[in-house]
Amino acid sequence: MIPGKYAEKIPTPLTHMKCLKCGTINSRPFKEGDYVFKEVEEKCPKCGHNKMRIIGIYVKEEKEKKSKLL
């Protein structure tokens, strides 16, 4: 009924992971079941190690124009 005009974009957070071996930080779109400090079995793109730790889940912000009042 209402959507179309009012269909708003829901921001999807990114899951940031750190390789437990080489320390490389990688990110991908959030998946249900992710939580901060969870250890996941995903392959590190740099060293190929298959254990990473989620260090952050947040929405990337777009840079806004700052007004003279700020």
């Binding site: 009924m1 921001p11 999807t12 959030f30 400090f37 947040y58 912000e61």
Partner: protein, 377 residues
């Protein structure tokens, strides 16, 4: 015909008709002085009706999403939609405040009973859900309940203003509606966050204390409902880090936890530090960190009352760290600036401890917030 055209000095029929129309129009305002108010009222009612339809859409969408998610963990013989509708319409009656003595403990009793009952109702609707999921689903139903309440209140004032043709009621609703719509949009986004278990802005306090003790050797134990203490040593000081248990959505009982710790430790506690999200003013930057004195903890006041009461009794200073964010940012998926602020707060807390508290002392550091999407370290 010519005498008629001479009326008002016109030379043709069309300009005469236009003059007559203007005359009749002005006469209406003379005979019917509230006509302009009626026009204004009908314009305002139409504006409110449009926004009310949008609120209804949000309410229905969040209700549908809540039922869908609860159904995933339910059984075939359980009527989830009826259960959710019952929970959406449930009320909490605050204790009477005519005699305010002892009201905090009465309020605590009602709130505890409410929280326990609400959670048990959700648990009964979702027997297949584990404890962590029940907590997150409870938060989801609370979001749906909040949005339903906003819709019903605005609908009430709209219908009341329409029924009584009272422009003052309608004007007040119209003036506040833009802010209400922003809150409703935030609730809608919050339902996505809770449905999927994403961390929200309000969890920044918990995230900060989790990062504080990450990698340290610590002893973890439960101190109150959904609340844990992580005992560790840092820079010659003993830290008692208190937070709600994640990664399910819980806020715990930090006030009760701080009270029990101080009662158990006695004079060993030299400071209580609280870290929480706070409301920013328009124009302020999200993620800005401010330090202050007092208990940085929101809610209805029961938990804050306990921290203040016990700290005053024992003469323990209260230090607060507040991370600024808007109402919408507090209940929607955590933004990058707020996540980065959690890391910066850790350094500020360490600096404060080093400067204000001597070696060998014990400090309580309480991370306040909703732990949805934030695990234990």
């Amino acid at each position: 015909m010519a005498w008629l055209l001479q009326f008002a000095g016109r030379t043709d029929l069309l300009s005469l008709l236009m003059s007559l129309l203007w005359f009749i129009f002005m006469l209406i305002f003379l005979i019917y002085p509230t006509f302009s108010q009626k026009i204004q009222l009908s314009y305002m009612l139409r504006d409110i009706e449009r926004k009310l339809l949008r609120l209804k859409y949000f309410r229905d969408e969040v209700r549908k999403r809540t039922i869908q998610h609860l159904n995933k963990y339910s059984d075939e013989n359980i009527k989830v939609d009826e259960g959710v509708d019952r929970l959406l319409g449930s009320v909490v009656i605050e204790p009477i405040d005519r005699d305010p003595y002892g009201i905090m403990y009465k309020l605590e009793h009602i709130v505890n009973t409410w929280e326990e009952t609400f959670e048990n109702e959700v648990r009964a609707l979702c027997p297949k859900a584990d404890e962590k999921t029940v907590k997150t689903l409870t938060n989801l139903v609370e979001v749906a309940r909040g949005l339903d309440y906003i819709y019903r209140v605005i609908r009430h004032y709209y219908l009341l203003g329409k029924k009584t043709s009272n422009i003052y009621i309608v004007l007040q609703v119209q003036m506040i509606l833009p802010q209400i719509m922003e809150i409703a949009k935030a609730y809608r986004q919050a339902s996505y966050a809770f449905a999927q278990g994403q961390p929200i802005g309000d969890g920044v306090g918990v995230l900060a204390v989790a990062k504080l003790v990450d990698g340290m050797e610590k002893k973890t134990y439960e101190i109150a409902k959904d609340t844990v203490v992580q005992e560790t040593l840092w820079n010659g000081r003993r830290l008692l880090v208190l937070r709600a248990k994640g990664p399910g959505g819980a806020v715990g009982k930090p006030g009760e936890g701080v009270k029990k710790l101080i009662e158990a430790e006695g004079d060993k506690i030299k400071a209580v530090i609280t870290i929480d999200a706070g409301l920013k003013l328009e124009g302020e930057e999200s993620g800005k960190i401010v330090e202050g004195i007092g208990a940085a903890i929101g809610g209805i006041g029961v938990e804050r009352y306990k921290i203040e009461e016990i700290s005053k009794a024992k003469g323990i200073p209260l230090y607060a760290f507040v991370i600024y964010e808007s109402v919408a940012e507090a209940i929607t998926p955590m933004k990058e600036s707020i996540a980065k602020a959690a890391e910066m707060v850790v350094e500020r807390v360490k600096k404060l401890i080093s400067e204000k508290v001597g070696e060998g002392a014990t400090i309580i550091v309480a991370g306040i917030g909703n732990t949805v999407g934030i695990g234990m370290t």
